[in-house]
Symmetry: C2
Subunit: 146 residues, 2 copies
């Protein structure tokens, strides 16, 4: 479901296909996102992690890298509430349920949304992007304690 087998080199190759370059910074960003698995990382957190190994890589470079990778469709942006933008590999297809109380997130089986996706297409001609769906609400724990 979620993960197809992808290597960093394959992803960097995609970038080269668009006339862009495979640099240390870009490799590092992809490595961290791959290591994060289903997690979502914001630019600052990504920078913090990367800088333990590559102290020279600047935060602004992370931002530019995230832009480039997003434009290439290699990574996807997910926004939770008014927190900073987070990113994950596009190959990691899933949807998000975010608890508005504690901020925890749940990753959902994409199949659940198939009926919705089909209906959007049929009724409105709208092509839903399969990677960007977010539902807000209360997780089990917070709705119990609230």
């Amino acid at each position: 479901m979620g993960h197809e087998p992808v290597t960093i080199d394959e992803l960097l190759e995609q970038l080269r296909g668009r006339g862009q370059r495979a640099t240390t910074a870009r490799r590092a960003v992809l490595e961290e996102l791959l290591a994060a698995g289903e997690g979502h990382l914001a630019a600052e957190e990504l920078a913090r992690r990367i800088q333990t190994r590559h102290p020279a890589i600047h935060l602004s470079t992370i931002y530019r890298t995230l832009d480039a990778l997003t434009d290439a469709g290699i990574i996807s942006l997910a926004r939770f509430g008014d927190q900073p933008a987070t990113y994950h590999l596009t190959t990691d297809v899933h949807h998000h349920a975010v608890c508005t109380a504690c901020g925890s997130t749940l990753n959902l089986d994409p199949a659940v949304f198939e009926p919705v996706r089909r209906r959007l297409l049929r009724d409105h001609g709208f092509h839903a992007d399969p990677h960007h769906l977010t539902i807000a609400g209360l997780c089990r724990r917070c709705s119990a304690s609230g």
Copy 2:
């Protein structure tokens, strides 16, 4: 005339119930959001419209008002892409499909999401908020021209 679903005065009464006050600014914000119908308004746009009638109302007051109304559950926040936060009346229940190319939005029948909502509850104990769902994708026009 049937039963109006909400009046401004009822909404302001809700605020008073929380120990807060019914002021010109708050009334003006609610008036604009009501007038906007299904539209979503950002703080700046809201300020622009309100200031034609109440030039003294400051943008920072709009922000504080939006916070207060959101905390009271009277209005809801919807974020589209990396554009500024937008708000709409909570009573206006609908979901959003947003075109990532042209920014146009589509309001969707909440019934479409019922199966998803039920499944989230049953499988994950997650109580989905019915007002905050956003799907990204390409609208009919942009997917045709793209």
